[in-house]
Symmetry: C2
Subunit: 214 residues, 2 copies
DNA sequence: CAATTGACTGAATAAGCATTCAATGGAATT
DNA sequence: AATTCCATTGAATGCTTATTCAGTCAATTG
């Protein structure tokens, strides 16, 4: 339905666009395709049809199908990292606030829509044998887990809590992040992002009652 | 290596075997192939080569490749269910003991070898769009979660604990199960089954200190 | 022993796929 | 206007794959 931005000469969409735009379009279409058909069901014909572009464009803007898939995953991973990193870098937030921000980023609607979750797990399913799928995103995971462990250590020191096991707690947090993601994908009616955040906060409130409340 | 059961005439392996045996061989080979190459890299040529059988046998013993994959997943799901169900059905165990048994089953080496984890997540990755992959195993997941919730309710009643949210706890347990599985697959050197059991027990010990200890 | 049955084989088939590339389009530059 | 350059197109190519099936083999039955 008509989107006429400038009356002057915007009537027909241009037949050509800068590579950046095309790459973004193709990555978007790839996300849609993977979420609908899985990685094994995602074909270049399908992706380009979804994007409304012609078949040959993928190999023009990307080296190969594999490069398109890898860059799709990297895009999702970077988008996620940007969101929580923004909060972690703020100087005015307490350790508990930063940890809360990481949790909320994990379950933010823009990060874990059903569509994107399907893509994440499609990649996890292939990650076992595809090194390129692990490289980037696992680096981010490790980075986030180490930051979480550091924040936990700080909170433990602040509150003088009994449990000294910041590494164990951050491991468990990581597991809860991924586990709730999977359950949100498989049983969306039973598991929502809101409920996940709530449960993670209950876990933290049990451990650090002075810093968190359910 | 020699396995000579009966001296009389067992020298060469028979060229033919009952369908049950062949089906099991093919499912085994499928697990190996998926763990090595993912679902998209698993071909009938590869499976039959792995099994040391001829190409045509898959479509003889199974309706199709898809049927083979579905039955492979169902086999894994049933194997897992059998393990925890055996403990849950015992009349002599307390609720806490049964919950412990479920946790230990979840991370039992026979259930979550790296090989089998790779297969589980390969299926999760495709489950979004393949109804047949969800049907059986998700039924088992729901069943297990409801049993866990019941056990939690019982424990809460026994210990007169403050937290009344058995459903939330069982949701969190489920998430920890899946999340630790994923982390065991992705970072096997950092995450082991033993460590996972320990962390889950710590979680329960925090909630139910009279029933569990870390 | 002959006949029958069920398991097994692997070459042949047909469909689908990623990738290539010669040709086209059109915007920017000369 | 002519030229250059880059984005774009989609038919053609060559490879991989699931599935079929006509035939082989061996055990069991009559």
């Amino acid at each position: 339905m008509g989107a006429t931005a400038k009356k002057t000469d915007t009537q027909k969409k241009p037949r050509t666009a800068p590579p950046e735009v095309r790459r973004a379009q193709l990555i978007d279409a790839t996300i849609t395709c993977i979420s609908k058909c899985g990685i094994s069901g995602t074909t270049l014909t399908g992706v380009t049809k979804e994007a409304g572009l012609s078949l040959g464009l993928v190999n023009f803007h990307f080296k190969s199908k594999d490069a398109l898939l890898t860059e799709t995953l990297n895009t999702l991973a970077a988008e996620h990292r940007d969101l929580w990193m923004k909060a972690v870098q703020r100087e005015d937030l307490s350790a508990a606030d930063k940890l809360t921000a990481i949790i909320e980023a994990q379950f933010h609607p823009s990060i874990c829509s059903r569509k994107k979750l399907a893509v994440w797990f499609a990649f996890f399913g292939e990650a076992g044998h595809r090194k390129s799928y692990r490289e980037n995103s696992s680096q981010f995971d490790i980075e986030r887990q180490e930051i979480c462990a550091g924040l936990c250590r700080q909170i433990i020191a602040e509150g003088d809590y009994a449990s000294p096991d910041a590494d164990g707690i951050s491991m468990t947090l990581e597991a809860m992040f991924d586990g709730f993601w999977l359950n949100m994908l498989m049983y969306p009616s039973k598991f929502t992002g809101k409920a996940a955040v709530k449960q993670v906060r209950i876990y933290l409130a049990t451990l650090f009652p002075c810093h968190f409340n359910a």
